[in-house]
Each structure stands twice: as C-alpha cells, then as structure tokens.
C-alpha cells in the first residue's frame, strides 16, 4: 500500500469517527476555506450567511469613527434623520476608503488616508446617506458634512482628533 493510500485511509477512518461533522465542516469552511478563496476581495470571509465574524478580532491602540454634522459643523442626529446607525455609516465609509485606496494604488492604511481621499470617499457616503434622509429636515440643513474622529491610546489615555471627510450640498 502506498503512503498516499495510507494517509487517505487514515483520513477516512478519522472522518468516520469524527463527531459533529456539520459543525467541523462549517468551521473549516468559514474560518479557513472562505477567507482563503476570497483573499483578494475587500472583505474576505463574508458570504452571507457564512462569515468568519471579524468584529472585535483585533484590539489596536488606534481606531476611528465617523459622525455627521450640518454645514456649520454642528453634529446632526443622523439615525433620526436617515434611519441609519453610525456603525453602518462607518462601514460604508470604510468600503469607499478601500475603493479610493485601490484606485490610487496608495500604500497608506485606510484610516490614515490623505485629506483628498477622505473627501472623495466621504462625499460618496453622504450622497448615499442623503437618499435615506427625511426630505423636509434635509432641506432645512442644506447639506451634510462627514467627520472622521481618530482615537489613539497615548500614555493610558484616549486622544481624539477630528478630521474633515467631505461635504455634500443639496
């Protein structure tokens, strides 16, 4: 018997004896196979309903979020205005930043994008967001601005830095 046949036989025996086969198939598929097959995509491991559940998988000493303001830089309650939560707005902004990065071939981290790229991505996000906004309220505001707030961990304290990330007018 060849070594290959031996290995195949042993694998077959292991498979027969393996308990919880559906569980392990799902684990191998979602944690390893799918992320590898999608390794060149923006979100490897995501194929609804399969996911490798990447949220909170790495706690870095640096992160950021976004917020929406009016044209006077006063914060706007965006969820009340559009029905969209900011975590989703941030995810859309992330996707747009990645697109800008890909298009420009830039080597910077998406969260350290230069102003020009942030504005480009932010405007797209705001146009997308405004389609869900209550028209009467949006008309009063005349337009929206997106801000990126960088959070860094410095000497046991959180430091916040607000950056411009585009504007869209009606």
């Amino acid at each position: 018997m060849s070594a290959r046949a031996g290995v195949a036989g042993a694998a077959a025996v292991c498979w027969r004896r393996l308990r919880l086969k559906p569980l392990w198939l799902l684990v191998i598929w979602s944690a390893f196979a799918l992320p590898w097959l999608q390794r060149k995509q923006a979100k490897p491991g995501e194929f609804y309903p399969f996911s490798n559940f990447p949220m909170y998988s790495a706690f870095t000493p640096r992160t950021y979020y976004v917020l929406v303001t009016d044209l006077e830089d006063e914060p706007v309650p965006v969820t009340l205005l559009t029905g969209k939560v900011l975590s989703n707005v941030k995810k859309v902004y992330d996707s747009e930043l990645r697109k800008v990065k890909q298009a420009s071939g830039g080597e910077w981290r998406v969260d350290a994008m230069p102003l020009e790229g942030r504005v480009q991505a932010g405007e797209k996000v705001l146009r997308w967001l405004m389609a869900f906004a209550r028209e009467d309220q949006l008309e009063k505001l005349g337009g929206l601005r997106l801000k990126q707030v960088d959070l860094t961990w410095e000497e046991g304290r959180v430091k916040k830095t607000m950056l411009e990330a585009g504007e869209a007018r009606l």
Binding site: R19, L23, L26, S30, P49, S51, P75
Partner: protein, 304 residues
C-alpha cells in the same frame, strides 16, 4: 482523584441529545419564532453597489419590490408555521431559508456588513439541510436503526451551526490578532469609547454616554479587560462542547448568554438573535424544568 476523574469522564461523555417529541415541538417553535422576528421590516434597497455573497452573481434588488417582498414574507411566515406543525423541513423551510438569505444578502451588499442575522439563517439553513438529508436517506432506504428522527436531526444540526459560529469567531480572533488577542484586549476601552460616541452622535442623546464610566475604569485597569476577554475566548473556542451533552449545552449556552449580556452593557451591541437561539438550542430550559419536576416527584414517591 479517581472520583474527580469519574466525574470528569461523566461530564465529558458524548451523548447525542435525543429530544423528546415535545422538546422537538418547542425547539421548532423557538427557532421559528426567532426567524419570524428576523422577517420583520421591509427592505428598501434599489441597488447593490457592494455585492456580497450571492449578490456577486445575481441581482437581488427585485426582492425589495413591495409587490414581491410582502407576499413572500407572509408566505415564509406561513411556511414556518407549517414546519412547527410537522410538515417536513425539506419543503417547509425552503422558502424561509432562501428568502432570508436573499433579503439579508441584499442588505449586506450596501457597503456595511452587519453580523446580527447570519446566525439565524445559518441555523435555518442547516435545519433545512438536515431535513433534506433525512428525506434522501429515507428515499434510499439507508436510515440506521439508531438514527435521530428528522425533527431531532434538524435541531441537532442547527445547534451545531450555532456553536460553529462561536468557534469560527474565536479562530478569527487568534488569526487576525496574530495570537496577541489576549495581550491587545487591554485596548478594549478605546473601542468602548468609539461605540459610546457613535451611539451618542446617532441620536444626540446624552443617555448613550452612560457607559463612559466603564471605559474610564477599564483605561485605569487594562488588566481587567484582559481577564474579561481572556475568559470569553476559551468559551467561544470550546463552544463545540455545547453539542456534546445536555449538561455541557447548559453550561456553554448559559455562559455565552451571560457573555452577550455583559458585552451589551459595555458596548451597547445587542446580539439578541444569538441569545435567543442559545436559550432555545443549548440552554433548553423546558427540559431542565421538566427534569427538576420529575426529580421532585420521584423524591415524594420515595418518601411516601
């Protein structure tokens, strides 16, 4: 020592959970109720600019058309009722599974991928596949004598899908953090600040900042973040043991529910579907209640 070894062997003994018919009925009812909740709402997506999953190959925007979506949602609800009443899963779950996957694929194709509903449709998909497997086995006449019934198998596979999600999540944490997840969890406070601020700026409601104390407290004591998450990682990684026997299912089910509740308090992220499915498929309170009653009744008989 030998007593401890015996106890451990008993706890870790693999016992397939052969649910009683009334447990199958309650289990199906519980899973169907969770899917019903997930079917609430109305999607209004006319584009899929960031296609995910099946949307990479198919245009799913037609699912947002109210003339299509509304009857399909009601049809899926009817199918769920049929499943609870005993219509084979291979037929009754087909519409709820594929409608759910379609609608939420479209939702996740807008640029923001959420992770609240995957667990619902993964459990439903595996329950449907279990129904299909039973049907094929019957058709081929290859059902082993000790095989689980269709209802038992559907809930068994759904439980395995639920546990698999946690194991996958733990593996991803280890892979993405390069194995430094425990060390880096000291920075959790930073992400807590992020969540609180996003919640605040969404509504401009100062109540959203009520969790600030936790962030500040964790900043001063980063070791506590490490302890909290240090306990959570093995709980997720070993979640497959929640399919091993009823005692471990109770332990891991209840442990993960408590973990979700703590995370909800800290981050305001609500994984309600995970918690509901953990209660239905792992904790299974009705069986423990019935067992407790049976013990009390036996004790009374002995005394009598």
């Amino acid at each position: 020592v030998s007593g401890l070894r015996e106890w451990l062997a008993g706890v870790l003994r693999f016992e397939r959970m052969r649910l009683a018919p009334w447990e199958v009925l309650l289990g199906r009812l519980g899973v169907a109720a969770v899917v019903w909740l997930a079917l609430d709402g109305n999607s209004d997506f006319t584009t899929q600019d960031h296609p995910n999953g099946l949307a990479r190959w198919f245009d799913l925007t037609w699912l947002s058309n109210d003339h299509v979506e509304t009857p399909l949602r009601w049809g899926a609800r009817g199918c769920l009722l049929a499943w609870v009443l005993g219509v084979p899963a291979a037929f009754s779950l087909a519409l709820p599974v594929w409608l759910g996957i379609g609608i939420f694929t479209l939702r996740n194709s807008q640029g923001a991928i959420g992770h609240s509903y995957q667990v619902v449709h993964l459990c439903l998909l595996t329950a449907w596949l279990a129904g299909c497997a039973t049907l094929v086995r019957r058709w081929r006449g290859s059902v082993p004598a000790d095989a689980l019934t269709s209802g038992q198998l559907e809930l068994d596979w759904a439980r395995q899908a639920l546990a698999a999600g946690y194991v996958v999540s733990a593996i991803t944490k280890l892979v993405v953090s390069g194995g430094w997840w425990f060390r880096d969890s000291q920075f959790f406070a930073l992400h807590l600040v992020k969540n609180n601020d996003m919640q605040y700026y969404g509504f401009l409601d100062p109540a959203a900042l009520r969790g600030e104390w936790a962030a500040e407290w964790m900043m001063r004591q980063p070791f506590l973040s490490q302890v909290f998450f240090g306990l959570a990682l093995p709980l997720e990684l070993l979640a497959f043991l929640g399919c091993w026997n009823r005692r471990l299912a109770l332990f891991f089910g209840a442990g993960l529910v408590v973990f979700h509740l703590l995370v909800k308090q800290l981050t305001q992220l609500n994984f309600e579907f995970n918690m509901l499915l953990l209660v239905v498929l792992m904790v299974n309170p009705a069986w423990w209640f019935w067992r407790g009653l049976a013990r009390v009744a036996r004790g009374k008989q002995r005394v009598g």
